[in-house]
Every structure is written in C-alpha cells, then in structure tokens.
Subunit: 291 residues, 2 copies
C-alpha cells in the first residue's frame, strides 16, 4: 500500500467478489460496522473464478480495484477466496488504499481454535490448489497439519437453492470423507458460498469439528485496521443525505442480483447497477499512466 | 453473411464454445468429415455462458469470431447452445463466412422425430429463457407444444466426473419430472455437455422418449452447407504438411484442457494453446474500421 493522506472515515468500504457469494462478507461488515457505507461489486460477467488461472483472476481483480478506487473507497475487502488466494499480494502492493483478504483472517481463527493442530480447508479448486490457507496457517503455527479438499459442486448446489437437500448432504459427505479420515478438528469454509450451507457441512463434519467462517473474522480485522488508521465511521450517515448507505454493482445480470441478494442480506430490497468492467485496465495499477 | 470469394475447401472450420463442452460438436465434425481441418476455441476465461446475459454472450461471441476469422476459417460452427440462442442472428448477419448454430439443426431433428408434437428441451437457464428452440420448432411445426426445463446442475456434475452416479440420476429425475408430466415424446439435449450423460438422461426420461443430440445434426447440416458451396475438403491433408489437422485454443487454463478433452475425443493427446481473447474487439463486426 502506498501512502495516502486523502482517506477519510466518511468514505465507503469497497467489497468485491467473483459474484454474489461475497455478500456473506458484506453482511458481516454491515453487522459489525453498522455506520459504514459499502460499495459492493460482483463480477457476474465472468463468475466463477474458482476454475480459472492465477493470471486471469489477477487481471480481473485489477479491473475491479480500479473501479472501486474510482468510487473513492477508503479500503478494499477482497471477499472472494480465490481472488484472495491468487491476487492479494499484487493488489496489496499496487493499491493506494488498505486492502484485506479473507484468507489470512480465516487462517488466524483456525489456528486459535484448533486443539490437535489438524485443520481442514474446503474451497474452490483454485483456492485449494493455491495452498494459500496452508501457507498462512503454517506461518503462525509451523507444526500444523493442513488438509485441503476442493468442493466444486457446492457453489452450483447453493445457487440452485438446494441448501437443505439430501443431494447436498450426500455430496458434502463425499467431499468431507477424506478430511475426516485425517482427524481434523477444525474446518475452514474457504469459499463465500459455503456459510450458506453451514448446517449441511456441519452435519457431514459431525459435532466435534469447529467450522470457521472467514467472513466473520475478516470483518473483525477490517474494523481493527480501520480503527488503527482512524478511518472508522463514527456515526451513521444522516438519512436523506442523498447517497444510499449500500451500493451494489455487477458486471452482468443486474436483474438477477436482487433475488439471490435478498436471500443473503435481510436489509430489504437490493438493486444492483450494471457497469462495464471492460473499460478498466487489467494491467498492474502502478504504471506511469495511472500514478 | 457477406459475399466472400476468398474461401477455399482447404481452409479449416472454426468451432467455438464457452468452454470444453463444444468438443462434442467438434467430435461429430471429425467423425462425419474426417478430411476437414478444425480450429477450436473454448472461452475458459469466462465459462459458463449459461448464466449470463444476451448482451454479454454476444460481446464474447464477437471477440471469438474475430479470433477465428484471423485463423482464416472457411465457416464457423457455434457449438455453444447459449451463444447460438443469444448471438447467432448478430453473428450470421455480421460475419463474412458462413455460420451455423446448434439450435436450428436440433429443432429440425426434433420435429422430424416427434409423433405427438410434444417436445421437451433441456439446457442452461439462458438457452431455455431465450425460447430459441421453441421459436425454431414452431416455425417448422406451428402446432408443436414445446416445454423447456433449465438444468443448471448438469454441467457441474459432468465436469466433476459424475457421469454415472446416483446423485446425477436423482437430479435428472427431478429436472425431467415436469417434462414427463407434459407427455413429451422427444427431448432435445440443448447443451453441449448433456450428451456426455446421455445414459443418465435416458434412464430418467424412460425408453419411450427419443433423445436428440443437436451436435450430430449440426455436423450433418454443416457438411451439406459446405458441399453446396463447394467448400468440402476432398482429401485429407498430407501428413507432414506442417500444421496439425486439429488446433485447440482456450482463453485460460490451457493445461487443464487436455484431461477433459481426452475424455470426449479419442484422438490421443490434445494440447491447447492459450490466447488473449481480450485483444479482440467486442463491437459489431461490420464497422468502418474492420471492413
């Protein structure tokens, strides 16, 4: 992060995700910091990220960061686990406002909860194969044993609405079987959609395994970070001040956003505006043209 | 299609899809026209198309058509049902080489097979909500009754390898239940992935329902079209002529292409090259700059 003296507590927090799953992170920020304004972006024209490459996800993330900076955000939360796994180092280095991802907070919590040092991680293929959770966990707890399992069907099952369904139970049992064999006592739900099927995952994991939702700890850490920088909004924006407290943008299918968004966030009707993400450069942010 | 006197029988056929499913169409072209060269493009950086908007899918399709024209193809097969449903009219109008989609051939075959005039269509959300199959069927057989059913879980189930699995059977039973209630006697598999779980779909449909694979009829119609234009390759390119008969390109994850491709096409090792699809314009093809 470069130095930036123009940030104020009144500016919104930027949150982005490959799609709508990142609303589970936005929801935690709303709960823990009810005074904050939020600009949310979901990349619905290119969702999902979990089956794509590091290079592609980094390029997409840079375009989104450029859009959020244009919205004058004071900080950016990378709500997407895959983007956090692949693009966070570049974004942190290049971005002139503070950036937080979901993986480090999730890893910290898992370490604080585990008793036997055996931690499972479930996520997209990309998140698991990146090894990011394992790397962060090992940095804090070098003796930890970390076991990853990609669960590519969970996102489509959630998006098809099968949150409580025997099929989702069966798939969860299969995905978790190898982790249970490893005798994990802590399981990180390393994809923004997974907390939505927390009950199903909990049934498959059994009652002795602690489930970690990185969204919760990410909002906590963001709050701590903003507090240290004196960037926490002290009071709620007065009603009638013009701009809504929460603004939602997508790169496609704005009309479809509302239904799913309302199933995650219970703040009444949410409308999203479609923006043209392709007009933002995918090149590194610190180039002569843009700094 | 504009007039174009520069096409020769020796030029390759371009085939594109949102990802790898379109290989089921490429496979039919290989089988039915073994002398033809093929340039295949899979848009793996933005897959899937089935949950995206008409405008976005049309923009993506135009970029791909520009890439294929650069490869000097003599014709383009739009292997993706969603792209055929959303972008075919624009592509046909704008493209200087002949274009064929999968929907019209699939519709024609269904009409020729149905006995009771009650036809089911399964596909992505986008393909079903476009109503394209219904429109083409009604144009040939105005009295036909056409019933659509989106099956969003089929593609992830296929890509997860659950081609023969009780979970896929269960999901297929649920998706097909309403179509069976309508007493269809013909069912169009309106997504390139579906023929890969033909047995599962057949079990759920029962033996009295005829399954239509548009890939087969699309290759037939392409052959007829090329024949009429004297553009059919008469003999196989001599070995050692430099260029391979089949070339595969993707926009991301070239390394992952091989495994899935080999499960569809039994022509031995297939390697794909990654290209930067973003360097091709998404604007309409017939603009002053490019014609």
């Amino acid at each position: 992060m470069g130095q930036n003296t123009d940030l104020t507590a009144e500016m919104p927090i930027g949150v982005f995700d490959s799609g709508i799953g990142g609303l589970t992170v936005a929801r935690e920020i709303m709960r823990q910091m009810p005074n904050e304004r939020i600009v949310y972006f979901g990349d619905t024209a290119r969702v999902p990220y979990g089956s794509k490459s590091s290079e592609t996800v980094t390029r997409y993330s840079r375009q989104i960061v450029r859009f959020l900076l244009e919205q004058k955000v004071k900080a950016i939360a990378v709500a997407c686990n895959t983007a956090s796994a692949y693009a966070l180092p570049e974004i942190e280095r290049e971005c002139p406002v503070p950036v937080i991802g979901v993986i480090r907070p999730g890893a910290k919590t898992a370490v604080s909860k585990t008793r036997n040092g055996r931690i499972g991680v479930i996520g997209t293929r990309a998140t698991i194969s990146s090894g990011s959770y394992k790397a962060y966990i090992r940095r804090i707890m070098p003796e930890a044993e970390v076991f990853g399992q990609a669960c590519p069907l969970f996102v489509p099952l959630v998006e098809e609405g099968l949150w409580e369904d025997p099929v989702t139970d069966e798939i969860a049992r299969r995905y978790l079987a190898s982790l249970l064999d490893r005798e994990i006592d802590t399981l990180i739900m390393g994809c923004t959609h997974y907390p939505l099927i927390r009950k199903t995952i909990g049934r498959a994991a059994g009652e002795n395994i602690e489930l970690i939702n990185p969204a919760y700890e990410t909002a906590m850490e963001l709050r701590r970070m903003l507090g240290e920088m004196s960037l926490l909004a002290e009071e709620r924006q007065p009603l009638g001040s013009g701009e809504p407290q929460y603004r939602f943008y997508v790169s496609d299918m704005a009309g479809q956003f509302r239904q799913f968004a309302n199933s995650i966030i219970k703040y009444g009707i949410l409308a999203a505006e479609k923006i043209d993400i392709y007009k933002y450069s995918a090149e590194p942010l610190r180039t002569p043209e843009n700094h």
